[in-house]
């Protein structure tokens, strides 16, 4: 049976009120390991041109966050296990750590500053979409995470932990690519599993 939400205002906020300011979780929740940030290559925003994948408004380093600091994917992509959508972290989530962490070198300090400014101006960051699944194909992330495990993301998105800037590893719109996987795992390839 459906669960009923209580506070209509809440929904309102969810809808468009990207303006209500609430102090997010304290930095304590963030992984503390700030130790050797030298392991990941130091790259300035300017370098991103040379990297594969679209250039993002903020040079967010998956290789540092997910790779070096081993922050689990679901810490930010919080709905991936429960919903068809992975969920893009709210700015609040970023600030959870970055109220405390200001960066270690000029390059990433500059980027983190962008985040803090955005938070100050209550302006969400408009990320450039990397993976765009054609809308006539329905892909419930939750079930795939359930089947492939919490690190199953890599099956489709590639080893993000090594990507300074995320790019498309597989053409997720190649139906054949999906079908191959379904065949290997002997799960249904009925058309109406994805197309409806």
């Amino acid at each position: 049976m459906r669960t009923l939400a209580l506070i209509g205002a809440g929904a309102a906020a969810a809808g468009l009120a990207a303006v209500t300011l609430v102090i997010g979780p304290s930095g304590a929740q963030a992984p503390a390991a700030v130790a050797d940030s030298l392991t990941a290559p130091v790259l300035a925003a300017a370098d991103t041109a040379g990297l594969p994948g679209p250039r993002q408004p903020v040079f967010f380093r998956h290789d540092i966050h997910a790779g070096q600091f081993k922050i689990p994917c679901q810490y930010c992509h919080y709905t991936v296990a429960v919903s068809s959508e992975p969920g893009i972290p709210s700015l609040q989530t970023c600030m959870g750590c970055h109220t405390v962490i200001a960066g270690t070198d000029t390059a990433n300090r500059a980027e983190i500053k962008k985040v803090r400014d955005a938070w100050a101006q209550k302006q969400p960051i408009a990320w450039v979409r990397v993976h765009y699944l054609a809308r006539h194909a329905h892909f419930p992330h939750s079930r795939h995470i359930k089947a492939l495990g919490p690190t199953g993301c890599q099956t489709c998105h590639g080893d993000v932990t090594r990507m300074p800037q995320v790019y498309k590893v597989n053409n997720i719109n190649n139906m054949g690519w999906c079908v191959t996987c379904h065949l290997q795992r002997d799960v249904s390839r009925d058309c109406a599993v994805c197309h409806y």
Partner: protein, 448 residues
């Protein structure tokens, strides 16, 4: 002429044949050019209509659900039907060694090829997303998807492409020796072209040996093909469950109709052509007499089929069939139903009289009736059956729009354009086969 009417060709020498036929390839007359421009004009109308359909969707055409197929499929079947006379005359009559085919088979074959070419456009025109028509072809793709070979439409795809290829081959193959003959009569750049087209044909004993054999086999293969193609088209309907479509009689019924309509179109074409190209002494009323008989035969088969449809509807006791056929004759579309019966079943019966068969005017008029009647036959079968099928609540009548007429006109333009161009460029009468029928001169005189 009546005296000579029993012979295939009026006696003349081989040299005359070459000369006369080559003469048809001379400079075009004004009348010819007018006809050609007319055809191109109509084609452009059709093209424009098609572009509009692609831009906005099929809504412009006169579809009123439950009538999901109407003028386009009608015209498709119409042209496929036209495309049957050619192969019938050139292949089947060849096997029967029927002497009268010789003079006319080249033109009918050409007509076949262009008619099928025209028909081939319609499956693309009529679908909702024309730009993905190729999904009907079994080509390997990244989706691992194949088309559905259980669908009569796939059968169509194969039947029509095969038919188009084979009849084109047949036409071109038959042309080679004649092109060679033309090559040897003309000079300059035209000779260069014909030389290439004649792929080194010399008429040596060895070439003739293989050529004639293969021609026989082609005829043998084309014969079942011509019968199969319209059967397959008829199964588009017969294998559906729509009352008025779902009949075992359909295959023979459609084939007969196809040949009937084909010959109708042959007459419509060669009667003027004969005059324009001055071929009176090769295409004589001996030919028209025989074409007339063939028309009478197929027309009578249709007559029988119409009667049989109604009989079966009544005899089956199937309420759906009965309603459909009752409405076909007395429903909102009675006019179409009766047009088809009069033009096909009744008009064809006039051909019992030799006088009519040998009167060009009469034959021409009748041929026009046949063309109209056969178009309406398909229209009636498709539209009136769909208009009132199983569920009364969903019944509705369709009413055609400019988009329907535009495409119809365009198809005639497209067909005419190709046929006219062909008639000017290639021998419209089979030189070498005519020669075959004229005994060669002998120094000792007499025939052996």
């Amino acid at each position: 002429m009546a005296v000579l009417a029993q012979q295939p060709v009026i006696t003349q020498t081989h040299a005359d044949v070459t000369r006369d036929v080559a003469a048809t390839l001379g400079a075009p007359s004004r009348g010819y050019l007018l006809m050609l421009f007319g055809a191109v004009g109509l084609f452009l109308v059709g093209l424009l209509t098609f572009l509009i359909l692609v831009k906005d969707g099929l809504g412009h055409a006169g579809y009123n659900p439950p009538v999901f197929w109407s003028v386009y499929i009608t015209t498709f079947v119409f042209w496929i039907g036209i495309g049957h006379a050619g192969t019938l005359i050139s292949a089947i009559l060849y096997l029967f060694r029927s002497p009268w085919r010789t003079a006319v088979y080249r033109s009918t074959e050409a007509m076949t090829v262009f008619a099928v070419m025209t028909a081939g456009l319609f499956p693309i025109i009529h679908i909702g997303r024309q730009w993905v028509f190729y999904w009907l072809l079994p080509y390997p793709n990244q989706r691992y998807l194949w088309p559905n070979f259980k669908s009569p439409l796939l059968w169509d795809v194969f039947a029509i492409t095969t038919y188009l290829t084979v009849s084109t081959t047949f036409l071109v193959y038959g042309l080679i020796p004649d092109v060679a003959a033309v090559r040897d009569t003309v000079a300059g750049w035209r000779q260069k072209i014909y030389r290439l087209a004649s792929v080194g044909w010399q008429g040596t004993d060895n070439q003739w040996r293989h050529y004639s054999r293969a021609y026989l086999y082609l005829a043998a293969l084309a014969t079942p093909l011509v019968l199969s193609v319209h059967s397959v088209v008829s199964w588009d309907f017969a294998s559906a469950i729509v009352p008025g479509w779902h009949g075992t009689i359909f295959a023979p019924y459609f084939v007969a109709g196809a040949i009937y309509s084909g010959i109708g179109m042959v007459l419509t074409l060669i009667i003027p052509l004969r005059r324009v190209l001055k071929l009176e002494h090769m295409i004589t009323d001996y030919h028209f007499d025989n074409l007339g008989k063939l028309t009478l035969l197929t027309g009578s088969i249709l007559f029988y089929a119409y009667g049989m449809e109604y009989f079966v509807a009544w005899y089956s006791g199937n309420t759906f069939e009965q309603t459909t056929f009752w409405l076909r004759a007395f429903g909102p579309m009675w006019w179409a139903g009766w047009t088809m019966i009069i033009c096909n079943a009744f008009v064809s019966q006039l051909l019992w009289f030799r006088k009519i068969r040998t009167s060009l005017t009469a034959m021409f008029v009748i041929s026009i009736f046949i063309n109209i009647g056969m178009w309406f036959e398909r229209f009636v079968i498709i539209v009136s059956s769909l208009s009132n099928d199983f569920l009364p609540w969903a019944w509705d009548q369709m009413n055609p729009t400019w988009a329907d007429w535009g495409i119809l006109a365009g198809s005639f333009g497209w067909f005419g354009m190709w046929f006219l161009l062909f008639a000017r460029t290639f021998p419209i009468v089979a030189i070498q086969e005519i020669k075959e029928m004229i005994p060669m001169p002998r120094k000792r005189g007499g025939h052996h």
